[in-house]
Symmetry: C2
Subunit: 236 residues, 2 copies
Protein backbone atom coordinates (compact mmCIF):
# COMPACT_ATOMS: atom_id res chain seq x y z
CA UNK A 1 0.00 0.00 0.00
CA UNK A 2 2.99 2.31 0.45
CA UNK A 3 3.01 5.25 -1.97
CA UNK A 4 6.05 7.53 -1.64
CA UNK A 5 8.40 9.77 -3.51
CA UNK A 6 11.74 10.26 -1.77
CA UNK A 7 13.69 12.95 -3.60
CA UNK A 8 17.32 13.94 -3.23
CA UNK A 9 16.52 17.66 -3.39
CA UNK A 10 13.52 19.98 -3.56
CA UNK A 11 15.08 22.10 -6.28
CA UNK A 12 17.39 21.25 -9.16
CA UNK A 13 19.89 23.68 -10.64
CA UNK A 14 18.09 26.25 -12.79
CA UNK A 15 14.65 25.12 -11.60
CA UNK A 16 12.11 26.37 -9.10
CA UNK A 17 10.92 24.69 -5.91
CA UNK A 18 9.70 21.13 -6.74
CA UNK A 19 9.02 21.94 -10.42
CA UNK A 20 10.91 18.93 -11.80
CA UNK A 21 8.62 16.68 -9.73
CA UNK A 22 5.24 18.21 -10.63
CA UNK A 23 4.24 15.44 -13.06
CA UNK A 24 5.06 12.77 -10.50
CA UNK A 25 3.33 14.67 -7.70
CA UNK A 26 0.09 14.88 -9.70
CA UNK A 27 0.11 11.07 -9.76
CA UNK A 28 1.29 10.62 -6.15
CA UNK A 29 -1.42 12.92 -4.80
CA UNK A 30 -4.14 12.09 -7.35
CA UNK A 31 -6.67 11.25 -4.59
CA UNK A 32 -5.49 13.93 -2.17
CA UNK A 33 -6.65 17.52 -2.18
CA UNK A 34 -5.23 18.75 1.13
CA UNK A 35 -1.60 17.96 1.95
CA UNK A 36 -0.18 18.21 5.47
CA UNK A 37 3.27 19.81 5.34
CA UNK A 38 5.96 19.09 7.93
CA UNK A 39 8.23 22.17 8.03
CA UNK A 40 10.22 21.05 11.07
CA UNK A 41 13.59 20.82 9.26
CA UNK A 42 13.65 24.64 8.95
CA UNK A 43 16.22 25.19 6.16
CA UNK A 44 18.48 28.15 6.98
CA UNK A 45 16.58 28.33 10.26
CA UNK A 46 13.46 29.92 8.71
CA UNK A 47 10.22 29.72 10.68
CA UNK A 48 7.53 27.08 10.19
CA UNK A 49 5.24 29.75 8.69
CA UNK A 50 7.86 31.02 6.25
CA UNK A 51 8.71 27.50 5.13
CA UNK A 52 5.07 26.54 4.71
CA UNK A 53 4.49 29.61 2.51
CA UNK A 54 7.21 28.43 0.11
CA UNK A 55 5.79 24.91 -0.14
CA UNK A 56 2.20 26.20 -0.38
CA UNK A 57 3.05 28.35 -3.36
CA UNK A 58 4.56 25.37 -5.23
CA UNK A 59 1.58 23.12 -4.45
CA UNK A 60 -0.83 25.75 -5.73
CA UNK A 61 0.75 25.25 -9.16
CA UNK A 62 -0.54 21.67 -9.19
CA UNK A 63 -3.90 22.66 -7.72
CA UNK A 64 -3.36 21.27 -4.22
CA UNK A 65 -3.92 22.88 -0.85
CA UNK A 66 -1.10 22.61 1.69
CA UNK A 67 -1.37 23.13 5.46
CA UNK A 68 1.50 23.34 7.92
CA UNK A 69 1.32 20.71 10.67
CA UNK A 70 2.32 23.38 13.20
CA UNK A 71 -1.06 25.08 12.69
CA UNK A 72 -3.00 22.06 14.00
CA UNK A 73 -3.87 21.81 17.69
CA UNK A 74 -3.11 18.09 17.52
CA UNK A 75 -0.27 17.17 15.13
CA UNK A 76 -0.83 13.43 15.71
CA UNK A 77 -4.42 13.66 14.52
CA UNK A 78 -3.31 15.88 11.63
CA UNK A 79 -1.15 13.01 10.34
CA UNK A 80 -3.73 10.33 11.11
CA UNK A 81 -6.35 12.25 9.10
CA UNK A 82 -4.06 13.49 6.33
CA UNK A 83 -4.95 12.85 2.68
CA UNK A 84 -1.30 13.36 1.81
CA UNK A 85 1.95 14.27 3.61
CA UNK A 86 5.05 16.23 2.55
CA UNK A 87 8.18 16.62 4.67
CA UNK A 88 10.50 19.31 3.37
CA UNK A 89 14.29 19.41 3.62
CA UNK A 90 16.51 21.39 5.92
CA UNK A 91 18.42 20.14 8.94
CA UNK A 92 17.83 16.44 9.70
CA UNK A 93 18.78 16.83 13.37
CA UNK A 94 16.26 19.62 13.88
CA UNK A 95 13.61 17.65 11.99
CA UNK A 96 14.14 14.41 13.91
CA UNK A 97 14.27 16.21 17.29
CA UNK A 98 10.88 17.79 16.62
CA UNK A 99 9.34 14.54 15.31
CA UNK A 100 10.36 12.80 18.55
CA UNK A 101 9.19 15.72 20.67
CA UNK A 102 5.76 15.58 19.02
CA UNK A 103 5.66 11.74 19.23
CA UNK A 104 5.16 11.59 15.48
CA UNK A 105 7.57 8.80 14.51
CA UNK A 106 5.16 5.85 15.00
CA UNK A 107 2.23 7.91 13.71
CA UNK A 108 4.03 8.71 10.46
CA UNK A 109 5.15 5.09 10.07
CA UNK A 110 1.59 3.87 10.40
CA UNK A 111 0.08 6.48 8.07
CA UNK A 112 2.66 5.83 5.34
CA UNK A 113 2.44 2.04 5.67
CA UNK A 114 -1.35 2.34 5.39
CA UNK A 115 -1.02 4.17 2.07
CA UNK A 116 -1.14 7.90 2.82
CA UNK A 117 0.86 9.36 -0.08
CA UNK A 118 4.16 10.78 1.16
CA UNK A 119 6.69 13.10 -0.42
CA UNK A 120 10.08 13.72 1.18
CA UNK A 121 12.82 15.96 -0.11
CA UNK A 122 16.37 15.87 1.25
CA UNK A 123 16.03 15.59 5.07
CA UNK A 124 12.39 14.56 4.47
CA UNK A 125 13.68 11.63 2.38
CA UNK A 126 16.46 10.83 4.79
CA UNK A 127 13.94 10.08 7.55
CA UNK A 128 12.23 7.48 5.34
CA UNK A 129 15.38 5.35 5.72
CA UNK A 130 16.48 3.43 8.80
CA UNK A 131 18.31 6.36 10.39
CA UNK A 132 19.86 9.77 9.79
CA UNK A 133 23.33 8.27 10.23
CA UNK A 134 24.06 9.08 6.58
CA UNK A 135 22.82 12.67 6.74
CA UNK A 136 25.07 15.45 5.42
CA UNK A 137 23.75 17.94 7.92
CA UNK A 138 25.48 19.69 10.77
CA UNK A 139 24.47 18.22 14.16
CA UNK A 140 23.26 21.59 15.48
CA UNK A 141 20.84 20.03 17.99
CA UNK A 142 20.99 16.68 19.85
CA UNK A 143 18.02 14.45 19.02
CA UNK A 144 16.92 11.65 21.38
CA UNK A 145 17.77 9.10 18.69
CA UNK A 146 19.10 8.89 15.12
CA UNK A 147 16.56 6.15 14.23
CA UNK A 148 13.83 7.14 11.78
CA UNK A 149 10.86 5.72 9.87
CA UNK A 150 12.36 2.72 8.07
CA UNK A 151 9.87 2.95 5.20
CA UNK A 152 12.67 1.68 2.96
CA UNK A 153 15.05 -0.98 4.34
CA UNK A 154 18.19 1.05 3.64
CA UNK A 155 19.62 4.49 4.29
CA UNK A 156 19.56 7.41 1.89
CA UNK A 157 22.34 9.91 1.32
CA UNK A 158 20.62 12.85 -0.37
CA UNK A 159 22.45 15.48 -2.47
CA UNK A 160 25.01 12.79 -3.26
CA UNK A 161 28.20 14.41 -4.56
CA UNK A 162 31.05 12.87 -6.51
CA UNK A 163 34.58 13.71 -5.35
CA UNK A 164 35.95 16.91 -6.86
CA UNK A 165 38.71 15.77 -9.22
CA UNK A 166 41.09 18.68 -8.68
CA UNK A 167 40.24 19.59 -5.11
CA UNK A 168 43.04 20.66 -2.79
CA UNK A 169 40.72 20.24 0.19
CA UNK A 170 41.66 17.49 2.66
CA UNK A 171 38.23 17.05 4.26
CA UNK A 172 36.59 13.68 3.65
CA UNK A 173 34.72 13.00 0.40
CA UNK A 174 31.15 11.78 0.57
CA UNK A 175 32.26 8.29 -0.47
CA UNK A 176 34.86 8.20 2.32
CA UNK A 177 32.20 9.18 4.85
CA UNK A 178 29.80 6.47 3.71
CA UNK A 179 32.61 3.91 3.82
CA UNK A 180 33.23 4.99 7.44
CA UNK A 181 29.52 4.42 8.09
CA UNK A 182 29.98 0.83 6.95
CA UNK A 183 32.72 0.26 9.49
CA UNK A 184 30.01 0.60 12.13
CA UNK A 185 26.75 -0.28 10.37
CA UNK A 186 25.61 -3.05 8.01
CA UNK A 187 22.66 -1.45 6.20
CA UNK A 188 23.05 -0.40 2.54
CA UNK A 189 23.16 3.27 1.50
CA UNK A 190 21.74 4.82 -1.66
CA UNK A 191 23.73 7.87 -2.75
CA UNK A 192 20.96 9.84 -4.47
CA UNK A 193 22.13 12.58 -6.83
CA UNK A 194 20.18 15.83 -7.17
CA UNK A 195 17.48 15.26 -9.81
CA UNK A 196 16.98 11.61 -8.79
CA UNK A 197 14.28 10.20 -6.56
CA UNK A 198 13.06 6.88 -5.19
CA UNK A 199 9.51 5.80 -5.88
CA UNK A 200 7.97 3.36 -3.42
CA UNK A 201 4.73 1.76 -4.55
CA UNK A 202 3.40 -1.28 -2.72
CA UNK A 203 6.44 -3.58 -2.70
CA UNK A 204 8.23 -1.90 -5.60
CA UNK A 205 11.14 0.42 -4.87
CA UNK A 206 12.40 2.08 -8.03
CA UNK A 207 15.10 4.60 -8.86
CA UNK A 208 13.61 7.49 -10.84
CA UNK A 209 14.89 10.58 -12.67
CA UNK A 210 16.18 10.16 -16.20
CA UNK A 211 19.45 12.00 -15.91
CA UNK A 212 21.43 10.30 -13.19
CA UNK A 213 22.52 6.93 -11.89
CA UNK A 214 22.55 6.36 -8.13
CA UNK A 215 25.66 5.24 -6.26
CA UNK A 216 25.05 2.17 -4.12
CA UNK A 217 27.11 1.35 -1.05
CA UNK A 218 26.92 -2.07 0.56
CA UNK A 219 29.12 -3.18 3.42
CA UNK A 220 32.27 -5.00 2.25
CA UNK A 221 31.53 -4.34 -1.44
CA UNK A 222 32.97 -1.84 -3.89
CA UNK A 223 30.47 0.97 -4.48
CA UNK A 224 28.68 0.81 -7.83
CA UNK A 225 26.19 2.70 -10.00
CA UNK A 226 22.57 1.79 -10.72
CA UNK A 227 20.66 3.06 -13.76
CA UNK A 228 17.33 4.94 -13.57
CA UNK A 229 14.31 2.57 -13.47
CA UNK A 230 16.36 -0.02 -11.57
CA UNK A 231 14.68 -1.74 -8.65
CA UNK A 232 16.19 -1.04 -5.25
CA UNK A 233 14.11 -3.70 -3.51
CA UNK A 234 17.06 -6.10 -3.29
CA UNK A 235 18.89 -3.77 -0.87
CA UNK A 236 18.41 -4.99 2.69
Amino acid sequence: MINCILASTSTVYGGTYLDYLFDSLRILYKDAQKIVFIPYARPSGISHDEYTAIAKSAFQKIGKELIGIHTFDNPIEAIQNAEGIFTGGGNSFVLVSELYKQNLIPVLQEAIKNGTPYLGTSAGSNIAGISIRTSNDMPIVYPPSFETLGIVPFNINPHYLDPHANSKHKGETRETRIKEFHQFNTIPVVGLREGSWIEVQKNQITLKGDDFTARIFEQSKTAYELEPESSLAFLK
Copy 2:
Protein backbone atom coordinates in the same frame (compact mmCIF):
# COMPACT_ATOMS: atom_id res chain seq x y z
CA MET B 1 48.63 26.89 32.20
CA ILE B 2 46.82 25.62 29.11
CA ASN B 3 49.15 24.79 26.23
CA CYS B 4 47.36 23.63 23.08
CA ILE B 5 47.51 23.60 19.32
CA LEU B 6 44.13 23.09 17.68
CA ALA B 7 44.64 22.59 13.96
CA SER B 8 42.08 22.56 11.18
CA THR B 9 43.72 19.59 9.45
CA SER B 10 46.56 17.11 9.96
CA THR B 11 47.79 17.48 6.41
CA VAL B 12 47.82 20.41 4.01
CA TYR B 13 47.63 20.06 0.24
CA GLY B 14 50.98 18.89 -1.12
CA GLY B 15 52.36 18.16 2.37
CA THR B 16 52.83 15.08 4.52
CA TYR B 17 51.14 14.20 7.80
CA LEU B 18 51.64 17.09 10.28
CA ASP B 19 54.75 18.44 8.49
CA TYR B 20 53.54 22.05 8.36
CA LEU B 21 53.22 21.97 12.17
CA PHE B 22 56.61 20.44 13.05
CA ASP B 23 58.21 23.74 14.17
CA SER B 24 55.24 24.51 16.41
CA LEU B 25 55.12 20.97 17.79
CA ARG B 26 58.78 21.12 18.82
CA ILE B 27 57.82 24.10 21.00
CA LEU B 28 54.50 22.65 22.22
CA TYR B 29 56.13 19.40 23.31
CA LYS B 30 59.51 20.81 24.37
CA ASP B 31 59.28 19.20 27.82
CA ALA B 32 57.55 16.03 26.64
CA GLN B 33 59.31 12.98 25.30
CA LYS B 34 56.46 10.46 25.24
CA ILE B 35 53.15 11.54 23.72
CA VAL B 36 49.90 9.66 24.33
CA PHE B 37 47.96 9.39 21.07
CA ILE B 38 44.16 9.13 20.96
CA PRO B 39 43.28 7.31 17.71
CA TYR B 40 39.58 6.89 18.51
CA ALA B 41 38.33 9.01 15.57
CA ARG B 42 39.48 6.26 13.16
CA PRO B 43 39.62 8.15 9.81
CA SER B 44 38.25 5.96 6.99
CA GLY B 45 37.50 3.40 9.70
CA ILE B 46 41.14 2.29 10.08
CA SER B 47 42.09 0.46 13.27
CA HIS B 48 43.63 2.07 16.34
CA ASP B 49 46.92 0.30 15.56
CA GLU B 50 46.98 1.43 11.94
CA TYR B 51 46.22 5.00 12.89
CA THR B 52 48.82 5.04 15.65
CA ALA B 53 51.46 3.82 13.19
CA ILE B 54 50.80 6.84 10.93
CA ALA B 55 51.07 9.32 13.80
CA LYS B 56 54.10 7.55 15.30
CA SER B 57 56.00 7.86 12.05
CA ALA B 58 55.39 11.63 11.91
CA PHE B 59 56.41 12.13 15.55
CA GLN B 60 59.65 10.22 14.98
CA LYS B 61 60.65 13.02 12.59
CA ILE B 62 60.65 15.46 15.52
CA GLY B 63 62.33 12.98 17.85
CA LYS B 64 59.30 12.14 19.98
CA GLU B 65 57.90 8.79 21.02
CA LEU B 66 54.16 8.25 20.55
CA ILE B 67 52.04 5.57 22.23
CA GLY B 68 48.42 4.72 21.39
CA ILE B 69 46.06 5.09 24.35
CA HIS B 70 44.39 1.81 23.34
CA THR B 71 47.57 -0.07 24.34
CA PHE B 72 47.30 0.99 27.98
CA ASP B 73 45.43 -1.19 30.47
CA ASN B 74 44.03 1.96 32.06
CA PRO B 75 43.34 4.79 29.59
CA ILE B 76 42.40 7.18 32.42
CA GLU B 77 45.78 6.75 34.07
CA ALA B 78 47.45 7.03 30.68
CA ILE B 79 46.03 10.55 30.31
CA GLN B 80 46.67 11.49 33.94
CA ASN B 81 50.34 10.51 33.59
CA ALA B 82 50.85 11.78 30.02
CA GLU B 83 53.72 14.16 29.25
CA GLY B 84 51.81 15.23 26.14
CA ILE B 85 48.58 14.32 24.33
CA PHE B 86 47.60 14.25 20.66
CA THR B 87 44.07 13.51 19.39
CA GLY B 88 43.98 12.80 15.66
CA GLY B 89 41.17 13.57 13.23
CA GLY B 90 38.59 11.27 11.72
CA ASN B 91 34.94 10.96 12.65
CA SER B 92 33.89 13.22 15.56
CA PHE B 93 30.91 11.02 16.47
CA VAL B 94 33.09 7.93 16.73
CA LEU B 95 35.70 9.86 18.72
CA VAL B 96 33.22 11.36 21.18
CA SER B 97 31.39 8.05 21.66
CA GLU B 98 34.63 6.33 22.65
CA LEU B 99 35.74 9.19 24.92
CA TYR B 100 32.45 8.91 26.82
CA LYS B 101 32.64 5.11 26.90
CA GLN B 102 36.11 5.31 28.44
CA ASN B 103 35.05 8.11 30.86
CA LEU B 104 37.82 10.28 29.48
CA ILE B 105 36.03 13.62 29.05
CA PRO B 106 36.65 14.98 32.60
CA VAL B 107 40.12 13.40 32.70
CA LEU B 108 41.17 15.14 29.49
CA GLN B 109 39.70 18.44 30.70
CA GLU B 110 41.69 18.25 33.90
CA ALA B 111 44.96 17.21 32.25
CA ILE B 112 44.76 19.97 29.63
CA LYS B 113 43.73 22.64 32.14
CA ASN B 114 46.67 21.60 34.31
CA GLY B 115 49.06 22.22 31.46
CA THR B 116 49.64 18.89 29.71
CA PRO B 117 50.50 19.97 26.15
CA TYR B 118 47.71 19.01 23.76
CA LEU B 119 47.56 18.80 19.98
CA GLY B 120 44.28 18.27 18.17
CA THR B 121 43.75 18.02 14.43
CA SER B 122 40.31 18.22 12.81
CA ALA B 123 37.99 16.11 15.04
CA GLY B 124 40.69 16.30 17.72
CA SER B 125 40.39 20.11 17.60
CA ASN B 126 36.63 20.03 17.40
CA ILE B 127 36.42 18.35 20.82
CA ALA B 128 38.40 21.20 22.40
CA GLY B 129 35.37 23.43 21.77
CA ILE B 130 32.07 23.39 23.63
CA SER B 131 30.48 20.69 21.48
CA ILE B 132 30.67 18.82 18.17
CA ARG B 133 27.54 20.62 16.99
CA THR B 134 29.62 22.31 14.28
CA SER B 135 31.33 19.14 13.08
CA ASN B 136 31.31 18.36 9.35
CA ASP B 137 31.25 14.63 9.95
CA MET B 138 28.61 12.07 9.14
CA PRO B 139 26.73 10.96 12.28
CA ILE B 140 27.60 7.28 11.76
CA VAL B 141 27.26 6.40 15.45
CA TYR B 142 25.08 7.93 18.19
CA PRO B 143 27.15 9.35 21.06
CA PRO B 144 25.65 9.82 24.54
CA SER B 145 26.15 13.59 24.19
CA PHE B 146 27.49 16.18 21.73
CA GLU B 147 29.16 18.15 24.57
CA THR B 148 32.95 18.11 24.62
CA LEU B 149 35.94 19.54 26.49
CA GLY B 150 35.29 23.29 26.41
CA ILE B 151 39.00 24.14 26.52
CA VAL B 152 38.15 27.16 24.36
CA PRO B 153 34.87 29.02 25.01
CA PHE B 154 33.63 28.68 21.42
CA ASN B 155 33.07 26.03 18.79
CA ILE B 156 35.45 25.17 15.96
CA ASN B 157 34.48 24.30 12.42
CA PRO B 158 37.58 22.58 11.01
CA HIS B 159 38.34 22.26 7.29
CA TYR B 160 36.34 25.46 6.79
CA LEU B 161 35.35 25.80 3.13
CA ASP B 162 34.22 28.85 1.23
CA PRO B 163 31.17 28.45 -1.03
CA HIS B 164 32.02 27.21 -4.51
CA ALA B 165 31.34 30.19 -6.79
CA ASN B 166 30.02 28.26 -9.79
CA SER B 167 28.50 25.26 -8.06
CA LYS B 168 25.28 23.80 -9.42
CA HIS B 169 24.88 21.78 -6.23
CA LYS B 170 21.89 22.71 -4.06
CA GLY B 171 23.15 21.21 -0.79
CA GLU B 172 23.84 23.73 1.97
CA THR B 173 27.13 25.68 2.04
CA ARG B 174 29.23 25.60 5.19
CA GLU B 175 28.21 29.18 6.00
CA THR B 176 24.53 28.28 5.68
CA ARG B 177 25.01 25.36 8.06
CA ILE B 178 26.75 27.49 10.68
CA LYS B 179 24.02 30.12 10.38
CA GLU B 180 21.48 27.36 11.07
CA PHE B 181 23.55 26.43 14.15
CA HIS B 182 23.04 29.98 15.40
CA GLN B 183 19.28 29.65 15.15
CA PHE B 184 19.55 27.14 18.00
CA ASN B 185 22.82 28.00 19.80
CA THR B 186 24.44 31.19 21.04
CA ILE B 187 28.13 30.27 21.18
CA PRO B 188 30.52 31.69 18.56
CA VAL B 189 32.06 29.51 15.85
CA VAL B 190 35.55 29.80 14.36
CA GLY B 191 35.65 28.60 10.75
CA LEU B 192 39.25 27.38 10.60
CA ARG B 193 40.68 26.96 7.10
CA GLU B 194 43.12 24.15 6.31
CA GLY B 195 46.61 25.42 7.16
CA SER B 196 45.36 27.51 10.11
CA TRP B 197 45.45 26.58 13.77
CA ILE B 198 44.55 28.02 17.15
CA GLU B 199 47.24 28.34 19.78
CA VAL B 200 46.09 28.38 23.41
CA GLN B 201 48.71 29.43 25.93
CA LYS B 202 47.70 30.36 29.45
CA ASN B 203 44.92 32.89 28.81
CA GLN B 204 45.98 33.76 25.28
CA ILE B 205 44.04 32.30 22.35
CA THR B 206 45.67 33.20 19.04
CA LEU B 207 44.93 32.44 15.40
CA LYS B 208 48.04 30.99 13.73
CA GLY B 209 49.12 30.02 10.22
CA ASP B 210 50.42 32.74 7.92
CA ASP B 211 48.38 31.99 4.84
CA PHE B 212 44.76 32.25 5.87
CA THR B 213 42.26 34.36 7.72
CA ALA B 214 39.61 32.60 9.83
CA ARG B 215 35.90 33.18 9.35
CA ILE B 216 34.13 34.14 12.56
CA PHE B 217 30.45 33.50 13.17
CA GLU B 218 28.65 35.14 16.06
CA GLN B 219 24.93 34.90 16.63
CA SER B 220 22.99 37.81 15.07
CA LYS B 221 26.10 39.26 13.40
CA THR B 222 27.34 39.14 9.83
CA ALA B 223 30.22 36.66 9.53
CA TYR B 224 33.64 38.27 9.21
CA GLU B 225 37.32 37.46 8.69
CA LEU B 226 40.12 37.64 11.26
CA GLU B 227 43.80 37.94 10.32
CA PRO B 228 46.50 35.52 11.50
CA GLU B 229 47.99 36.49 14.90
CA SER B 230 44.62 37.91 15.98
CA SER B 231 43.47 37.11 19.48
CA LEU B 232 40.33 34.96 19.72
CA ALA B 233 39.99 35.46 23.48
CA PHE B 234 37.12 37.94 23.04
CA LEU B 235 34.84 35.20 21.64
CA LYS B 236 32.54 33.94 24.37
